[in-house]
Each structure stands twice: as C-alpha cells, then as structure tokens.
C-alpha cells in the first residue's frame, strides 16, 4: 500500500539576513534559519501522524510546506504517489490542492471577519466549481455546518458572533468543503479551553472514522497527541529525532529529548513519579549546535554527538536519530 503522504528530506531555510546596506556598512554576515532541516516521514491512509515539539522546532513550517504555503528549499512531498512540487502544470496542482486542506491554530485570525460564514465555508466550493448556483451552495454549506455540530442558519452570521470553539468548527467545515482526503491541523485546539477542546477533538475523531480521513496533527500538548494520534514524530530544532507508534512512544520513549519532554509534563494524576531534572533551553536557531542539535542538553552526549549529526534510522521497531541509542549506550 502506497502511503497517502510521503515526505523525503524536506527542508526549508529562511534568509533572515540584515538588509544589504547594513551588511556592507556594518560588516554583518548573511544569516539563515534552517527551520526544517531534512525531515522524512510517511502517513498511511486513514491514520493520524502527530508532530510534536517545542516552539521553534519547525513543526508549523512542515505543515505549511506540506500544503504548499511555502516552497521547499530541498526535498520532496508526494501525495498519493505524485510529487506536489510546482514543476507540474497549474491544472493538476489545483486537483491536488482539493484533496488536502488545512486547519489553523488561531480561530480569530483564520476567518475573514468581514465575510459571512456562508462565504467563508463556500469559498472553496466556488473556487473549485463544486456546486452550481446560490441555492445549491447554501444547501451544501448548511450540510457542512451541521456535520460539525453547528446549525445551517449559522451561515448568515459573521465570525465575531461565535466563540473560539465554534470558530474552529467553522474552520473544520471549510476544510471539509472540497471533500479532502488529507487534513493538516496546526495546533487546532491550543487556543481553546479544555472543555471546548474536548468537543473539537471528539468531532475530529468522529469525522476521521466516518470519512476515512488522514491527519497530520501538529501540537505541543502531548496529552492531546496521545488522544488523537496513531504515530508520533518528535521534532527538535528542525529535525525529527524519533518517530514511533503512539503506544511505543509513550510507554518506551528512546530518544533523550523525548524522555525529557514526557518527563516535563505536569502530572495531573500526581503519581509522584520521580523526574529527571530538565537541563537548559532550546538553542538559538541562528546558531545551532554542531553534530546532534540536542547534545548540549543531553546527559548521554559524547564526542561523536558533538561532531557528527545522527541520521534518522530504523532501530528496535521505531525510527530514531541518536548515536547513544543506536550504539546501545542507553
């Protein structure tokens, strides 16, 4: 079975250099941020891959690269066996775009405040000529709104008349308009209260079951990730450090960073487990460490770790990028 989404050595570098004149006069060097630095993964049809990591790890950039909001600096994205880069003609790209959609984190910024919900949810239908005539549009938008637990009559309202959780449902309704197979969800519930988050996550799971949707779910909240994902990828400073099935990752995390992350989560069950104290902070992406990006904070780092970057490889049923694990030191 060909995976629905296949990503190979994906990278995105942003040029954050000072303007040319400043560079010349102040003798400043060019500066680059390797937001995504060679990421590879695949997602099987109907499954959810979660990407987790702290701020600056590149997970949101990966999301945008996947749907084409950014052009990659290198690497490839294949959707249902076909490459998605813009070398192909515009018509085929449009067809591809219909099959994948995105849901954003900020329910207040991702809906145009001057458009009615009818126009917001109807925009993809119009763009792709999926319905004919205003009545058909209205009916279809009504169906979409009902499928996310809103009322058809809500299409006449404006975004400011809804709460954060309701706006996120409108975003989901809009994303489902083209009947996509693949949804990229960038922190869809991070801005919501826990009880509202529960509603939205339940809807997303129901929809996945009913329609066989495939999700890429970006989050920094590991408890939420545990609830929604099948597979989890952990990112650090633009690189994947561990990819594993959910059960494996949470019961037996191998990478030192994954262990640190799981250990750091405040424990609502108050099991009183002892924790390894967390060291240091995420380094400046303008000046990343040599070799393995995590080595300055890693209790198991040796000379090889500071000079040679570990590549993501199969080991013991998971994918891991760590010299210490592969060498059997931990």
């Amino acid at each position: 079975m060909v995976p629905l989404v296949e990503v190979q050595d994906l990278a995105k570098t942003f040029d954050v250099s000072a303007p040319w004149l400043n560079r010349v006069v102040e003798r400043k060097p060019r500066q680059f941020v390797h937001a995504v630095d060679g990421v590879s993964f695949s997602i099987a049809r109907g499954k959810t891959l979660a990407l987790v990591g702290e701020s600056g790890c590149g997970k949101s950039t990966v999301a945008r690269l996947l749907v084409g909001l950014y052009a990659p600096t290198r690497g490839s994205v294949r959707f249902d066996g076909q490459a998605t880069d813009s070398a192909r003609n515009a018509g085929e790209l449009r067809q591809l775009r219909k099959r994948m959609q995105m849901i954003f984190q900020d329910p207040y910024a991702s809906l145009n405040p001057r458009w009615k919900v009818l126009d917001i949810v109807g925009e993809p239908l119009r763009e792709h000529d999926l319905v004919g005539g205003v009545d058909a549009l209205r009916a279809r938008v009504g169906e979409l709104l009902q499928s996310v637990g809103l009322a058809a009559s809500d299409s006449e309202k404006f975004p400011h008349q809804f709460s954060g959780g309701q706006r996120q449902r409108i975003s989901i309704a809009r994303a489902l308009a083209t009947q996509p197979e693949f949804l990229v969800c960038d922190e869809p519930t991070s801005a919501l209260d826990v009880s509202v988050q529960a509603q939205v996550l339940n809807i997303m799971k129901d929809l996945q079951r009913e329609r066989g949707l495939t999700y890429l779910f970006i989050s920094h909240n590991l408890a939420v990730v545990r609830h929604v994902s099948d597979q989890v990828g952990v990112m650090y400073l633009g690189r994947l450090v561990e990819v594993a099935d959910k059960a494996d990752l949470f019961s037996n995390p191998r990478h030192p960073y994954t262990r640190m992350l799981l250990d750091a989560i405040p424990d609502i069950k108050m099991s009183g487990r002892s924790r390894t104290p967390v060291q240091g902070e995420v380094p400046n992406p303008l000046n990343p460490p040599t070799g393995c990006a995590f080595h300055p904070r890693c209790p198991h780092a040796n000379a090889r770790c500071s000079s040679e970057r570990p590549s993501l490889m199969e080991f013991g049923g998971v994918q891991i990028a760590c010299h210490a694990v592969v060498e059997g030191r931990i």
Binding site: E54, S55, S163, G164, G165, D193, V194, S195, V196, Q197, A198, Q199, L201, N202, K205, H220, L222, A223, V224, R226, H227, F250, M260, L261, D263, A264, I265, P266, D267, I268, K269, M270, S271, R275, P277, V278, E281, V282
Partner: protein, 325 residues
Amino acid sequence: MTMPVPLLEVRHLRVEFPTRRGTLLALDDISFTIAPGEVLGVVGESGAGKSLTGAAIIGLLEPPGRIAGGEILLEGRRIDNLPYEQLRAIRGRQIGAIFQDPLTSLNPLYTIGRQLIETIRTHLPVSEDEARARAIRLLQETGIPAAEARIDQYPHQFSGGMRQRVVIALALAAEPKLIVADEPTTALDVSIQAQIIALLKRLCKDHGAAVMLVTHDMGVIAETCDRVAVLYAGRVAEIGPVHDVIHRPSHPYTQGLMGSIPAMDEERERLLQIDGSMPRLNAIPDGCAFHPRCSVAVARCRSERPDLMDAGTTRAACWRVPERK
C-alpha cells in the same frame, strides 16, 4: 486551639464593570482564604474571573472595573479600601506579583539589576551595596548562571524562561508574604515550564511565602498547589484539597472539567464533553450559573443560587451535593 489568622481572606468579593448598556457583574460573591505558606490554585476557563480575582487582590483592577462589595483582608486588616499610596506600599512589600508575560513586569529600558535594586530599596531599609548583594543572591537562587555578570544586562538579553526567573526574583525581592502568580508558565515551552514550576514552589517554600496561582492548566495545579478553587462564571464552584478536587470532584462542572482533560496514562475513545459554553457576563442564568449545561439539574437549581456546601473533603456550590452524602 484557636484557628490561626489566615494570611489572606477574601469575603464575598464582588467586582463589576459599569458599561453603557448596564453593569456587568464579573465576580459574584467570591470567598476563600489562604493560610501562611500555602499554595492555593485558582483555576477556571476563559471568562471565569480568575485573573480578575488576582487583579482585585493586588489592587490592579483596570478601570472602569471596580470592587463593588465584599472585603479583602491581609493578615486581618482590610486592604481593598486603602488609598493609593498605602496600597502601593503593600503591593511589593507584602504581596508580590508574577504575570504571564515577563515583558509586562520588566522595564526594557533598565537593567534587571537596577529594577531589582529599586524594588528592594523601596521596601527594605538597606544600602545600595547591600541591595545589590541581595539581588545577586536572588538571581542565583532562581538559577540564573553567572548572576554577577548578568545582573547588569537588559531584559531583551534574556530568553523567555530566563526572564520569567528574573520576574520571580523581582516578586520575591522585598520578601513578601503572598505571591499572586497569573499564568506564570503559560507562555513557556513545556520543558521550561517544568523548571519554572519547580523553582516557584521551592523558592516560595524557602522564603515562607504563600502563593495564589491563577491558571487554566490543571496539570500545573496538580503539581504545585495544596488547595484549589474552581471558578465558573464569576463564582466559586468547588474548593478543597487539590487531590480531592481532581480525583473526587463533587460539583458537576468540576467533574466535567476533569473528564475533558486528555490523560497521559489512559486511553479513552471519546473525551467527556460539556455541551455549550460558559455564559457571557450579560447572560448569566438565574439560580445556579451552570444549570443549563448540567446533566443533573433539578427545579431548585434553575431558581435558587447555591452557596458553597460541605461535600466531604471539598466544598461545592451545588444543590445535589447534600443528597449524595
């Protein structure tokens, strides 16, 4: 044995916002106490009034918001009706504050040393040198490496987590008895959050300061607090020891809240969801504010507002509680 005087006592606090279209009651009869050295969590979703409670106690309510009723007592003396200058003297000396965004508390134009020294000398009768020595010790206690050098740096030269440590140092600088922390770790990454929570807990214990920790994050509450108050629509829904409120909640809202949080150690197909959302300030229902969303509401809930009543180890504002005992 007589009951020791609580450090902080909030009695029937009411905070209202006069608007053009009428007065909105944002806090409606809130009462709780904090014992010396205790860590009380104040938890609730957006709009419940937890930040307002903190602001009212520190005396930093944004006008037109104002205290419309009730009392706030610090060590038995009223502080809610003090003139500005007296309140300012208390704020900082007796009550320290930590906010979510460290850049709110730190002046970008002054070195952190200057800000620490200013705070120390405002409230304690010490010389410039002594204040500087204290400031360096505080920075070291909060885990800032090379404190003697970094004390002369500006806030922008620190990372987010480091800045929050500086803010904690600033809050503790005048040796206050109570720290009000409003979402102190929400803006930080998970790994830094863990460090800051542990630091706050340890330092407050070392310095003998009580903490009122306002947050929406139950995990942080579970890790840090002795007791917790759950707020809903400007009222206290449940209050009690943190273990009991989390594992044996009595109020239907608290039960729903705990059920909706995805757990790290167990799998559930669906999360418990409470349908609907918290009422807006201009549409608070009669009787119990939670009744429209409550699966066990009865006629009394719709007309009579429940006070906090004994629910075993916690207290909950719910008419169904006495029946279950």
